[in-house]
Structures are given as C-alpha cells and as structure tokens.
C-alpha cells in the first residue's frame, strides 16, 4: 500500500546580512558572495509575502533595479529569469551573476547610484520545517486538506522541496506518482507556479485533483 502523504509546513525567520548595494556593481558583488539562503530569499520573498498579488512582482533584484535604480532594461532581464527552470540555488545564482555581468560589460563601467535610503539590503532566512496534523491516504482526503492547510504548507511542498531541498520534483507530484496518479502528477509538475499567486495555485490544485477524484 502506498504511503500516506503527510503535510509539512515551513516558517521563515528573516536574517539581515548587514550588507547593502547602492548600484549594479555592488549588487553583482553581493549576489556573488552572499550565502545561498540569501539568493533563495530574494527570489522567493514576494511569493511568500504578497501571495495575493496578481500579476506577481518579480524577484527582489529585478524589483529594486527597476524601482530604485530606474534601470528598466536590466530590471526586465532580471525579472525574466525563469526560476522554474533551475534545480538548485547554485545554478540560479549563476544565472543572476551572468545577467548582471553582461549588463555591467555593456555599460562600460557607468554605474549610477540609487538615492540615499533606497539601498538594496541583503537578507537571508532560516527555515523551520515542521509536520502539520494533516495526512492524506487518497485523492479525496488530499483535496480536502488542500482546502484547509496553510498557504505555507502548499508553498513548502511546491517550491521549497523542489529547489531548496533539491528533491528535483515537487512533493505532490512525487506522491501522486506513487499512488498511481501518473497523469495528475505530470500535470502538476508541468505548472509554472511562479506565475500564479499562491492562493490561485491552491485553487488550481484543488480543481485538478477534484477532476481526477471524480474519474
């Protein structure tokens, strides 16, 4: 018999690195040197803190470059880094470094500072993972729990598990595959969760699971 699916949740404690950037060159230097948890934090903060917004604002780097430095071209390039495609923080960091480096080269060392008070502050997070009381044995129970469980739990199984814990796939798809729901597992795996709000994602998951639960 297949394993029951235990829902976990994750809670973040935000840490300050005491490091800031006031221009693109300093941002690049920071992106190179800060710990991986900082890259993770700045590419996922908006998802977690503004999970109702539609369309999603992009990662913190893009948001700051556009809104505080006013460099729209670079902002757009950073915003369009497709986080979904990366399987590790290492490779995601490389992509940001590459994007920033190529912009710095094009600019031939022209380097405008942001206004005082609008500096980019590097942060990171400590993540606490803990089991909830929810467990599903079949699709019906799975759907019912999806309706009730905290948004942090859905976030954990979709985003954190795949990229930060490097499990390769989201937890829901892994379990669905195990219980023989291969098609549903693939559907959920194909979703780009970065372009849906978290509450939108919850609804989408419930809709898809309901469909298979009926069948």
């Amino acid at each position: 018999m297949a394993e029951r699916f235990r829902f976990y949740t994750r809670l973040n404690l935000v840490e300050l690195l005491g490091r800031q950037a006031k221009n693109v060159a300093e941002l690049l230097q920071g992106v190179r040197q800060v710990p991986g948890s900082s890259i993770y934090y700045h590419t996922h903060r908006f998802l977690q803190q503004h999970h109702y917004l539609s369309p999603e604002p992009p990662n913190d780097f893009a948001f700051w470059v556009t809104n505080s430095l006013g460099v729209d071209v670079l902002g757009e390039r950073l915003a369009s880094v497709d986080t979904c495609k990366f399987r590790s923080i290492r490779s995601l960091r490389e992509k940001f470094i590459e994007t920033l480096e190529s912009y710095v080269r094009e600019q031939n060392s022209r380097n405008t500072d942001c206004q005082g008070g609008e500096e980019f502050h590097f942060m990171s997070c400590r993540t606490f993972i803990l089991p909830t009381s929810y467990e599903a044995q079949n699709l019906k129970e799975f759907r019912e729990i999806l309706e009730r469980v905290s948004i942090s739990s859905i976030y954990f199984h979709i985003f954190e598990a795949r990229l930060r814990l490097e499990r390769g796939e989201n937890d829901f798809s892994n379990w669905l595959e195990e219980i023989g729901q291969k098609k549903l597992a693939r559907e959920i795996s194909r979703l780009d969760p970065y372009t849906i709000t978290l509450e939108g994602l919850r609804k989408d998951l419930i809709r898809r699971v309901s469909q298979y639960d009926k069948d």
Partner: protein
C-alpha cells in the same frame, strides 16, 4: 484578557495552530524580558500585549525592569538621541556611570533562565554577565537606527557583539556585526481599540462630533504634530488636489501640550490651513484610539507623508482597514507597501497630490490597493506574526543550520 484563540478567525486557524506547534518545541525553556520601564513607551506596550499571549501558548516568559536614577536616564536619553543621529556630547565619565548602573542591576535583575531577552540600549551592558552565567542572550533594538553617531555606535557595538543575536525592525537598521542579525518588524493588534471592527453608527457619530461630512471624499493623515510627519506638506498637497477634485482633509493626532515644538508645528499647520472649513485639525487627547480607528475607517484615502519614519505603523493600521494609502518611501513604510500593488509610495508634495487625484478619480483601482494592502498586513504585520517570529527566534538560538527540521 485577549486569548490567543480569539485570533484564529482573523489570522487563520492554521496560523494559530502553527504557534502552538512552535510553542510546544520550547517546552522547558524560560525567557526573561528585561527593559527599563514597566509603563509608557513602545516596548512596554508591546510586552503588555504579547506576554499574556505567549503564556497562553504555554511559553514560560517573565518580564523584569532595571532600576536607574535621574542621572542614568539622562544619559540613556542622550544615547537614544545619538542613535537617531542627533549631535550630543557624552563624556567618558557618563558612559562609565551607565555601565556601573547596569552592573548594579545585574546583581538583582537576572534570573536563572535559559534566554535573556534584553530590549533597547538602557540595559545593554547586562550582557557582561554572559561570561559568568552562560545561557543565551538576545538584544532587541526597537529604535530607528539609520544614522547613529559613530562614537556612540562603537561604544554600544562592543556590547552588542557580546550577544548571541541582535534583532532589528527594518533592514536599513542593519550594519556589519560579528553576530547574527534578525529582522522582526513591529505589528498591529487587530483586536485592540485602534484596529477592531466598528459599526457604521459608531463611525458616523465620531464624524458628526467633528463635523466631518461623510458624503464627500475624506483624506486623512493620523500622526502627532511633528515636522518629521510633514503636516504642512500634506495641506499643500491637499490644496493642489482641491483645485480639481472636491475633498476634505483631516489631520488628527496627539502630542504633549508641554512640547514647545509640537505647539509650534500646530501653529504652522493652522496658518497653512488658512481657515479652510474643509480642513479639520484635530488635536486628540491620549486614549483616543476608537476615534482614530473611526477616522481611518471613514476616510477614502489615508496619507503618511513623513519625511523620516521609524516604522510607521499607522500605514499598517490604515491598510488593515482596506484603505488606499499614499505614503512616503521612508523608514519601514516600503516594507508595508509594494508601490502600485498594495498602496502608493511617493517622494514629494507634488507626487502625493498627483496620486491622491488619481485615486479619487479611480475608486476601483483605489479599492484594489486597499484589498491587497489588507491581505499584506494580514500575512505580515499582525501580532500573530510577531509572536511567531519571537518563537522562531528563541528556537533558532539552539540551531546552527539554515534549514531546521523540528
């Protein structure tokens, strides 16, 4: 007394469940809060609200206050001002006296607990006891730390770095330190008089009392009368708006009547208002929380046009009431507002006027900002999030890794 379960309908049942899960992990640990005053001031206010809720969750917390004479508090006031960037001279003798008073207090105040949670600079030197007593030590800084005077910063830094961890309210307050730094923003209490739901009759009666017409657009700024809140700039923005769109302006706030600067600001504000019958300047007495709540709820737009701001929780209060907010991008305000998503951030009087006009003319968009704003506050700035952060902070003292399985 408010119980933690009462927050479930507001913050979500799962949020309160998570708090119980975390609190369970702290079983057997005791936490001692230490600050310098039992009443008055922001720190005491937070502790009064939060400690009963932590106890309700089963966390063993206590609160003690250090003792000091007039000379000690005169010195700590100077330290406080210097941290705000004010030029003050503090002699070596004064710093020595400050440390001596801390040493005297250390003999009396420190309990046999697991975690000492020290608030603000006044008791900062208690950490000298760490070498002897061991245990975990946290320093919680509640004040604006953007531009501290260098010598005072160096003096305090030598103590801060003795702690296991320092906690700041906004990213801009962080600076290079040899210890871990944690960001914990302040919060609002949705069940307090200032934020609880009010009936329409109650809101109407407050407006009637002040002769504010609810049939016409109302723009409000709630803040004490202080140049840093730029009330004169608010009136100038209102005048620019008024040329094109009908509206009323409410400037409401308190302040000490013995504060000569506050009275001068009030005079300047009255002068700028030029007896305009649509400008309501309300100098409210302490304890006017329900009135402030009603005025925010009656408003079409809430402003916070500060020139400098620690955190600016009035923004969170207004967003919690689903109001579109136009506020300056200073202090902790950008943490509360994502520009054009959950409110508007501005940098000038003209910009403020421009956005007020836009929002009065586009009520649908303004409503969306308010809806998004409320959700943002619900997820990030309620007291339940504040409690969660404190629980995580305590737990983190016993962990080394970035990812922690509980």
């Amino acid at each position: 007394m408010t119980k933690i379960d009462e927050y479930a309908p507001i913050a979500g049942k799962s949020t309160v469940e998570e708090l119980f899960l975390l609190a369970k992990r702290l079983k057997g640990k005791t936490v001692q809060n230490i600050n310098s005053t039992a009443v008055g001031g922001g720190v005491a206010e937070i502790l009064v609200r939060m400690l009963p809720l932590l106890r309700d969750l089963g966390v063993n917390v206590r609160w003690d206050v250090i003792k000091g004479n007039e000379r000690f508090f005169h010195i700590t006031k100077k330290l406080h001002n210097a941290l705000h960037g004010v030029e003050v001279s503090i002699g070596r003798e004064e710093l020595e006296y400050f440390v001596d008073v801390n040493r005297e207090n250390a003999k009396e105040v420190l309990s046999d607990v697991d975690i000492h949670f020290i608030h603000d600079p006044q008791p900062i030197a208690l950490v000298e006891e760490k070498a002897r007593a061991g245990r975990k030590w946290i320093w919680r800084c509640h004040i604006d730390f953007t531009d501290p005077k260098k010598d005072v910063w160096e003096f305090l830094k030598s103590y801060i770095e003795g702690y296991d961890c320092a906690v700041f309210s906004a990213p801009a307050f962080s600076r290079p330190l040899a210890i871990r730094q944690v960001l914990i923003s302040p919060s609002i209490d949705p069940l307090s008089d200032k934020n609880k739901e009010l009936s329409d009759e109650r809101i109407n009666s407050v407006c009637e009392r002040f002769k504010i017409n609810r049939e016409r657009p109302i723009i409000t700024q709630i803040s004490r009368f202080d140049y840093l809140k730029d009330p004169v700039g608010v009136i100038q923005a209102y005048k620019m708006v008024k040329e094109h769109v009908d509206c009323q302006l409410v400037l409401a706030g308190g302040g000490a009547t013995d504060d000569p600067e506050g009275m001068k600001v009030l005079d300047d504000v009255r002068k700028e208002a030029e007896n305009d019958p649509d400008i309501f300047i309300l100098f409210l007495p302490p304890g006017s929380d329900v009135e402030i709540n009603a005025l925010q709820r009656a408003s079409n737009i809430v402003l916070q046009k500060s020139l400098k701001e620690g955190f600016g929780l009035t923004v969170a209060e207004a967003l919690w009431k689903e109001k579109p907010v136009v506020a300056s991008a200073v202090g902790g305000i950008p943490l509360q507002i994502a520009h054009k998503y959950s409110g508007i951030l501005t940098h000038s009087i003209e910009g403020t006027a421009y956005w007020i006009k836009q929002l009065l003319n586009e009520p649908e968009y303004a409503k969306r900002l308010g809806t998004n704003g409320k959700q943002h506050i619900q997820g990030n700035f309620l007291i339940t999030r504040h409690i969660r952060d404190y629980l995580l902070l305590f737990l983190s003292l016993y962990e080394q890794k970035d990812i922690i399985y509980l």
